[in-house]
Symmetry: C2
Subunit: 186 residues, 2 copies
DNA sequence: CAAAACAAACCGACCATCTGGTATGTTTAG
DNA sequence: CTAAACATACCAGATGGTCGGTTTGTTTTG
């Protein structure tokens, strides 16, 4: 990622670089390609240096996941601000966040979440995040139609990962808008 | 899986055992645990024996995936038979098939599909299957609401993989029924 | 204020283990 | 007897991880 080389000992910068590089590799080549060596090389650090920041591989990958969750959080919070209506506010932000993650450039949000569903700890991380957000917005986003809309957003995001590079985004925006309309008070 | 041991050379049985064992391992311990050795051991065959049936690991995993697709196919076809209404018939079968895969015992339908989204060839396999099914039922299942219902089914299935063993199936059946009702003519 | 003492950041070599894969032998079926 | 269905032995490479040491930064002390 950013050239951490020749820099005079700035651990936080190196740590960030490691996280970013790991995320990028997992996104471009899949989780199995995220090897200690590969990440260390990409961040211009030795494997020893990497293992100083993260005691083992699991810790690294989980840190990346945690980081991704925070990014999602920030994005959703931003979207929440721009929403007048109360009912379904969180659900709309959720839908739009995933839609952005798919189409926009900053789509670190790829292979990692999927492949990591195997790992119980990461499953729990996501479960906890989702549950807490749902609890926080219980008053505005408890309806069952909203739940379905969110599930559909998940499915849509998943489908996005399946299209093999082909620009098969036909009517995808329209679909998202239809999902959004599902979140309006009936 | 089935005891292929002490059996006197029945290649097709061994092959089936290999497929089943590979599927089971990937389901219980994730795709990375699907190693040639592990699969061979589970099927009571040596690694050499396994590599006689499948030239390499990729071929094995893809065969498992292909097998899973066929099972899904069969299940959907069966569900199609029991459906009177024309409109949205395939979508309903699709929803029910995934709902079953989640709740019922024969849920080989787990880690593999997810982790294998990395592999371009498997992505293509799924894409092709999905596209062909969609084309086949274009007359009855082309509506956008149906697409959303299917996406929601995907999301629901995904969510099922995330619940950490806790029996959080509260109202899950109701949700499915609501999805089904979305597929009825408006 | 300087120098010693300590701790954190990082490197480089090393290792045990496992992995996929090959090459070659042995058994069984038709 | 021939070919398929297996087993056995082996290997080259990669991977996660450890360990001792070196460099850099910070704190303490005289």
């Amino acid at each position: 990622m950013t050239e951490a080389h020749e820099r005079k000992k700035q651990p936080e910068i190196v740590r960030r670089a490691l996280l970013d590089c790991a995320a990028q590799i997992s996104q471009e080549q899949g989780l199995p390609a995220v090897t200690l060596q590969a990440v260390a090389d990409a961040a211009h650090v030795t494997k020893g240096g990497l293992l100083h920041h993260f005691p083992n591989k699991q810790a690294l990958v989980q840190a990346v996941f945690h980081d991704l969750l925070e990014q999602l959080d920030a994005q959703i919070d931003a979207l929440l601000e721009d929403d007048r209506d109360a009912y379904g506010r969180f659900t709309r932000a959720y839908i739009r966040a995933f839609a952005n993650a798919e189409s926009q450039g900053a789509s670190n949000w790829n292979a990692l979440p999927l492949s990591s569903l195997t790992d119980p700890e990461m499953k729990a991380m996501w479960s906890d995040w989702y549950a807490s957000r749902l609890a926080r917005h219980a008053e505005t986003d408890a309806g069952p139609e909203l739940g379905i809309a969110r599930y559909a957003a998940d499915g849509l995001w998943l489908a996005g990962l399946l299209e093999y590079s082909g620009v098969e985004a036909t009517g995808q925006d329209a679909l998202i808008e239809q999902l959004i309309s599902m979140t309006r008070k009936t």
